[in-house]
């Protein structure tokens, strides 16, 4: 440093109000750009998830034994990945149906109400038809994504899922 010149660090700690205002606003602008970059990273996360979901292989998975569930009973399983909770339901007519457990409104877990034969979301009182997955009431914008099943040799298999 040259003798008599102001050291660099002193520039960030000014004594005059006009200079102080300049320094704080300059630093705030820099911070704003940093956070602006962080939001881009946040948005990119959703792109990465979209790509990941598209790449997920369609697999066949054994879900339950036919005798395991009585009429009106439910089994929780995960399909197609361990991060995707799903519900297997044996309806009162003996038929098996399965849906992804995430409500199409804001992803709250839905549960089966046997007395009304509906899938209900406790967060915002959304309701879906257990036979078809169609929306019956509440804010969900779309039906529950269905998981396709196959019954073979006394076992229930998940063989594919509708797009979310």
């Amino acid at each position: 440093m040259k003798e008599g010149s102001t050291p660099k660090w002193r520039e960030d700690f000014p004594t005059l109000w006009s200079r102080d205002t300049y320094v704080t606003r300059r630093d705030f602008s820099r911070f704003l750009v940093l956070v602006s970059g962080a939001t881009v990273v946040g948005n990119s996360y959703f792109v990465a998830r979209k790509y990941q979901e598209e790449q997920a292989p369609k697999t066949t998975k054994e879900v339950a034994l036919v005798d395991e569930l009585g009429e009106g009973q439910v089994k929780l399983f995960r399909y197609p990945t361990e991060d995707d909770p799903a519900l297997l339901i044996r309806l009162t007519n003996g038929e098996f149906v399965a849906y992804k457990q995430r409500c199409t409104h804001l992803s709250c877990p839905v549960h089966y109400a046997k007395n009304t034969d509906r899938l209900e979301c406790p967060c915002h009182n959304g309701a879906f038809d257990a036979k078809t997955g169609a929306v019956l009431s509440g804010p969900p914008p779309r039906p529950l994504p269905k998981i396709h099943l196959k019954v073979e040799e006394g076992k229930v298999f998940a063989i594919g899922a509708d797009e979310t």
């Binding site: 300059r26 939001t39 959703f46």
Partner: protein, 82 residues
């Protein structure tokens, strides 16, 4: 009224420059926040059709902010030369 010294006038001018940039950056950043919430809400609803458009729009906003920051750095370099 006392006339400001040339140095003080220059600082006030510089502060005005930074303030202008800041005022331009803030709405752009608010747009980015809105884009992020749109993408988040869509993701929570199990959809992903807007993921790429919102990311591209957010990236464009970030590049504009970065361009504006260059002007702030330019003002700072002027200070360093003093």
């Amino acid at each position: 009224m006392r006339k400001p010294s040339p140095e003080q006038a220059e600082w006030e001018q510089r502060t005005q420059g930074v303030s202008t940039i800041m005022v331009m950056m803030l709405p752009i950043f608010l747009i980015q926040l809105w884009l992020l919430t749109v993408a988040l809400e869509e993701f929570m609803g199990g959809k992903s059709a807007l993921a790429i458009p919102t990311t591209l729009a957010s990236l464009a906003c970030f590049l504009v902010n970065l361009r504006l920051l260059r002007y702030v750095n330019h003002l700072d370099r002027k200070e360093g030369k003093r």
